[in-house]
Symmetry: C2
């Protein structure tokens, strides 16, 4: 654990099949008017909406509806949410959904009492909020992003063809999150596996950096092994409580800052995937899976020792009698097989990306420091081509 860092995480988690009832403990802490944020209405079909409404009413809340949050929340939707919050003078934002709803709720929370353009302020200039923040709570119905216990918020601007994430501070993080694994049972398989790969990739993004032998790396390997193991069970039986609960818990710990401690990170797969998302509106996890193998195979020689460790510790590659290159390559092949087993999107063409888009996608990809190599724009284009 090299370097200096601070760690704290203010979000309170309520986990388990009975966890929704803890809204009764949390809701009284906040004001009367609650903006209820959700997506396309699946929570009305599976009964979660009714349960939440009942609890809100039992706690004497005035409910302001804010539905239709899309998988990649847009600037236009954000402006709509801010207007709803202002007009109704809401005291609390309750997001019921997946990462998109949580991300969106945070974006609304920092913008309600701010006169500036939120896209410009937070997603272009990366400034911190100087205004009062409307507190956020989450009821999770889809796992992957870890947004329930972090300050991350990704917003898409289709006009500018940009999908950008801002990581806000502790004060913007959800006050609490309700994690009920059963709420994820009715998720379509495609979304489940996209979420699983999102989790796995969050861990990889933080794992693949640094030369030191770091406790964070051991924990990262543990989370990867847990999610690989449980993903195979969930694929066979999407209502296996144990598997779904392990996936849900792993998702939270994969991206609540813990495993990044003592590490540098560049988040390049997310930079690539987010730019792809701005062009295709593809499911977040699938934009990551589509570029991952080309990226990792390209970057592998620059972090060979760590890719060997990954192969042996995560994928149980037998190292005896093999060169480092062979060990690392075998690890990546096993990772690729698992991704195919899950049914992930393995190339950009499948997401509707055309050769003509590649220049624009490369232009929209932030070139970050912190990994094994700072990519050039040409290298980004090469990786994108290899992902087609």
């Amino acid at each position: 654990m090299l370097g200096n860092f601070a760690y704290s995480n203010p979000t309170k988690l309520y986990f388990g099949e009975d966890s929704l009832c803890y809204l009764n403990e949390e809701l009284p802490k906040y004001g009367k008017t609650v903006q209820l944020i959700y997506g396309g209405g699946s929570i009305k079909k599976n009964g979660i909406y009714e349960q939440v409404i009942t609890l809100l009413k039992a706690n004497g809340k005035v409910i302001v509806e804010d539905s239709g949050v899309m998988p990649n929340p847009t600037v236009e939707k954000l402006m709509e949410g801010i207007q709803i919050a202002r007009e109704n003078q809401v005291d609390f934002l309750l997001a019921v959904g997946g990462g998109s709803c949580c991300d969106y709720a945070k974006a609304v929370s920092v913008s309600v009492h701010c006169d500036e353009n939120p896209w410009e302020k937070y997603y272009i200039r990366f400034e911190e909020p100087a205004c009062p923040i409307v507190p956020v709570g989450c009821v999770l119905t889809m796992v992957g992003t870890g947004s329930e216990m972090n300050g991350g918020s990704v917003i898409t601007n289709h006009e500018q063809k940009r999908k950008i994430g801002h990581v806000f501070g502790d004060n913007v993080m959800p006050k609490f999150a309700v994690l009920n694994p059963k709420f994820t049972y009715t998720l379509p398989k495609g979304q489940m596996v996209a979420g699983i790969y999102d989790i796995f990739n969050h861990i990889c993004e933080q794992y693949f950096s640094g030369q030191d032998d770091n406790t964070s790396d051991y924990i990262s390997e543990a989370l990867m092994k847990s999610v690989i193991h449980s993903s195979r069970i969930a694929l066979q039986n999407s209502e296996d409580y144990e598997a779904r609960s392990n996936i849900m818990w792993t998702a939270t710990w994969a991206l609540n800052t813990l495993i990044a401690k003592g590490k540098d990170t560049d988040w390049m797969v997310h930079m690539l995937g987010q730019s792809v998302g701005a062009y295709t509106d593809g499911t977040h996890g699938m934009t990551l899976s589509a570029v991952s193998m080309a990226y990792y195979r390209y970057i592998c020689p620059y972090g060979l020792a760590k890719f060997c460790r990954f192969a042996v510790n995560v994928w149980q590659v037998e190292p005896k009698g093999k060169t480092d290159e062979q060990i690392a390559s075998e690890g990546l092949s096993r990772m690729e097989s698992w991704m195919k087993e899950l049914g992930l999107v393995m190339n950009l063409s499948e997401l509707g990306v055309t050769e003509e888009m590649l220049d624009g996608i490369a232009d929209g990809t932030f070139l970050m420091e912190g990994g094994y190599k700072i990519l050039t724009r040409d290298e980004v284009v090469d990786i994108l081509k290899a992902s087609m």
Copy 2:
């Protein structure tokens, strides 16, 4: 992750070789009079005392000294600390030391404004504080107990021959903890290895229970592997920053409630070790190591599958061609070899325990539920005998 649970941890950690300066951020949040809690004065020799005093004075604090906290803090010392706090109307308790100082600070914090006898109230009747709590901060100079990020507080009553731990709630946990790996460099080797085994045993206590395949178990294995790896490096070079920093970070995460989530626990090695401690005043980690092998070998058949997993995942035992009993046994043998390599106390006689004490130690051992088997008093006596 079976069962329902809540997770939150309010302690803020400042980690790294420059972390002490963060006292400048934290001290202004609390009142003027600070009770400075420390042990036998080693912090005066290694310069940490001077650095802390300088920072306290720079922040305009009135410093009230409370030194002489012993490795196993006693009820008598606790009463003294309470009196110091009351007489000086202290606003804040700053513990500079290891787990003993942190544990003691928490015991003082819940007792200053409470009229009842703290030993009776907290350590015999296990009640929660109903009085105002004096906030606690920690500057860690010895690692092992995890007391810097949990609510645990162990106090010893020599008259009653009882050493008992109370785990207080979030409100009693340290507000912040400063973790500077360099502050542990000057620790005598015996204390370093006792702390390392304390860490390892904390993980074992939480790992060895439950039938489910749990993300907490994967994280536990990661922490065990990290501490085993770093312990060997620190044993060769006690000033290897990377090793000491990994050990320090692992200690915190081994006992800040994370890896207990979704698990039942009985903490039987601690129950045995604490009773031994009440009779011998032995170093905490050494009282654990002295009873561990006899305990785990006794309990192994009741949790065979987990002991096999432990052997393969933590100790790299090759399972091929072996019975489960052989695999599990080989894992425990490798653990024993590592303990001997560290130079831990491996039997009770070395701690000064005599045959005549065994009945008393057995009487002082709480028989807990939550592990693979609820021990009877006779079984406790057998384990103690096998540990002689």
